[in-house]
Point group: C2
Chain length 477, copies 2
């Protein structure tokens, strides 16, 4: 998936059915599409709604959809699955999913599912069975039970079962129980057979040990030789990124570094995920060190398969984190599309959606009247430049200049070079890159126009970048 | 279904897998097969186990299986469905059901499912959704909600939703909501398309009005012209038995009458379903009046399609109700197979199982060492006589003699007559039946041997029956 641009969609929030079709539920219960999202409400987006927008995503330059969970779950985010083998009826059910998959594949778009295997929802039938029958339930060993009875609803009594972050509505599966492991593996195989192109594994740290992930990789790849296997990880994913387990991880560390460089002191602490350490601004040198450290952390080419992003459904949107500063998003997007790893847009970021911590960041995708068309166009151009220039997808990374707020780096692959310059400061900045060569053509400008590059005849490359701007220079077509 | 002998099976209690196969649950949690059944425990019977016994049932003379619910339910009786379109994994899941259906049909056995549509289990996903999202749930109109919040677990607060008999674990569906009605109808159609031969509708009084049941009949019959439609009813089912709704009802009134005649004063009140009026013994005349009244209650031939039985999973077993008196069961079985209606054996009754009120009456089907072989043989012979003699299946009913404890009645169809004499008293009894004819051959004796019939040459038919015995006399082969 080195080459892909991902688009992360919570189907409940992206688009409703293009044409209302008869269905058994009550649309009157849905939260108004444009209302601030409540913690507990559906907006009623569907997989048919998503399928009807695929051409819009193609035009944006998207190659792969990452869908947050689509399994029945009785929550709008569906991270509490109650059935691993069906598609949520409110999303349109199995028929709508299969139609989406076919429509995506017909356009060359891949589809990656979100595998929630650490925990289930209270409504997962084996857990309900244990609630009903206690020790007499044949499913009792599927959960980590400390004693009887279980108490999912009365907080004054011990829960007596392991649950995610202490949340009793999310009982954890007992992954050391062989039938549970086999269940997870068989679910992974099932959906790959059904046509999906890969998996993002939610909260995977507890799901299995190294042997489990190797087995999962073996079985997934036996079904689908190029299945993409991505693990959610908020910190250092090295333990899983030895090349025998996942292909990549969610690159939250890079997200933080980009925020600290592109937004710097504009970061609003109140929009950070609780527990996030202070987001101290980074200058160009600090940012370069961070990025080089992250790339060096894993064997090449794993850094190319990491999933990079500026925000997710679990964070505030970057535009909001940056206090509404649009240039931060522009610079962040430039870095996202030019640093190693597969960029992933959190649906709505590309049209300027705002939103604080969840649920606020999970609003309904805006209608086109409210799109920031310039920002959308920037993303479209970034995706196009990335697609047209292999170094941006597969190239090595080397900083060429990092001083003050100006970072210049190159990506090199197959004898081709792309140079990226980002000036996070407010004043224009200049770099003399010790790379004697002719000035490469300007592929794309971000922010204020007027970046200039000159050089040639044995002289170093000189780059001038206006404040809060960036430029992509390259030799590729 | 006039011609069928039914066999009522709770698959959890009939037979385990014939050969253990790998499965993900923990057999160690199962209740020992022969232990007294607890209210909350599985015994681990499966649909594969049942399929492996079909030849035994064929030999017994069974024509149709009535299965208590097979949908996922987190209870051993499964009357709290959480999915109307799947088969419970613990029973072997969809594959095991489809195999059972094929094996049954290959033997000419029909299969009738139990349709639980009045209420669902708490784990029914739309109900869970309403619990999670309250007024924001698109499924809120699927249930009869009086206010918010719902309280399924805290009895100190109002439930705020209608539930079956006040049991908060069984929320009632809102059948006046058109999507709910459509759901029920589509489920009925689904399983008929899948091959089942009919339905027993559980707790149907609240499921729909006359118009609903007519619509259901129309749609069911459009899928399957001979689909059998049976409603559960403990009292007078006349409202549904006008010929445009159900084909028949569960004939609890007949069960009571047979108990009161065949067991009489032997009935143990402690084994009666709570709320049952005192079961005053009936003499022959009283019993005849009861039976004639029940037959006359509905237009002919509806009485032939009623489901008759001596007990169900919701009652104690008749042998236990009768204080262990085996003759009561023999006489009861004789009446069951010779009175109008389709006899239905509650699995185990035919081999002398005992059991008080549920859960006691829901024991594991005994292994053959513990069968009452004579009782089993009696049932086999009764089924054979019924099959061989159309009057027992389709004939009109006319009492010929009812005095003291001796009842003699005839069933007439197609010019053939079968005469049945039952002496519920302990002393031999004699009747002179005002029916001048030759003594018909004795087709079957129940209880003490020595019943005699004589007549002919214009003289009335004389019948002598030993105490606690009965006889079937007939002209058919």
């Amino acid at each position: 998936m080195h080459d892909a641009v991902f688009y992360a969609v919570n189907p409940d929030r992206f688009a409703r059915d293009p044409e209302p079709s008869p269905h058994p539920w009550d649309d009157g219960a849905l939260e108004p599409w444009d209302a601030p999202p409540a913690h507990r409400a559906y907006k009623g987006g569907t997989l048919r709604g998503l399928a009807a927008r695929l051409d819009h995503l193609l035009a944006l330059g998207v190659d792969a959809l990452y869908l947050t969970p689509i399994w029945p779950s009785t929550t709008h985010h569906r991270y509490k699955p109650i059935d691993h083998l069906r598609v949520e009826p409110l999303l349109g059910g199995d028929a709508a999913f299969d139609a989406l998959l076919a429509a995506a594949h017909a356009r060359g778009l891949r589809v990656v599912l979100d595998g929630v295997f650490n925990h289930v929802g209270l409504g997962f039938p084996p857990f309900l069975d244990v609630l009903e029958y206690g020790e007499r339930s044949p499913w009792r060993r599927w959960f980590r039970i400390a004693g009887w009875p279980l108490s999912p609803f009365d907080p004054s009594r011990p829960a007596n079962y392991a649950c995610w972050n202490g949340n009793r509505t999310m009982p954890e599966l007992a992954h050391d129980h062989p039938p549970v492991r086999e269940h997870v593996l068989s679910v992974v195989e099932h959906w790959l057979r059904r046509g999906v192109d890969g998996w993002r594994f939610d909260a995977p740290a507890g799901v299995g040990d190294v042997a489990f992930w190797r087995e999962l990789r073996r079985r997934a790849r036996a079904v689908r030789a190029d299945a993409y296997l991505l693990g959610e990880c908020w910190t250092d994913a090295s333990a899983w990124l030895d090349g025998t387990q996942w292909d990549g991880a969610t690159n939250y560390p890079l997200m933080g570094a980009i925020h600290r460089f592109a937004a710097g002191a504009r970061i609003r602490p109140e929009h950070l995920v609780p527990g996030t350490p202070p987001q101290v601004p980074l200058d160009a040198a600090g940012f370069a060190r961070e990025v080089e450290g992250l790339v060096a952390r894993h064997p090449w080419p794993i850094p190319l398969a990491q999933l990079d992003f500026l925000g997710t459904h679990d964070t505030a949107r970057f535009l909001t984190v940056a206090g509404g500063d649009r240039a931060s998003v522009e610079l962040g997007a430039l870095l996202l599309f030019t640093l190693p790893g597969a960029p992933c847009l959190y649906a709505g970021d590309e049209v300027g959606m705002q939103g604080g911590l969840p649920p606020a960041s999970r609003g309904g995708y805006p209608s086109h009247e409210r799109w920031d068309l310039a920002l959308l166009d920037l993303h479209r151009r970034l995706a196009a430049v990335r697609r047209a220039n292999a170094p941006l997808r597969r190239g090595t990374l080397r900083p060429l200049h990092a001083a003050g707020d100006l970072l210049v780096f190159e990506r090199v692959a197959g004898g081709e070079t792309v140079i990226v310059a980002v000036n996070a400061g407010t004043a224009a900045a200049r770099a003399s890159v010790p790379l004697p060569r002719a000035a490469p053509p300007c592929l794309l400008e971000v922010g204020a126009a007027g970046a200039r590059a000159s050089g040639g005849a044995g002289a170093p490359l000189e780059v001038v970048v206006p404040g809060r701007s960036g430029v992509v220079l390259g030799a590729c077509r």
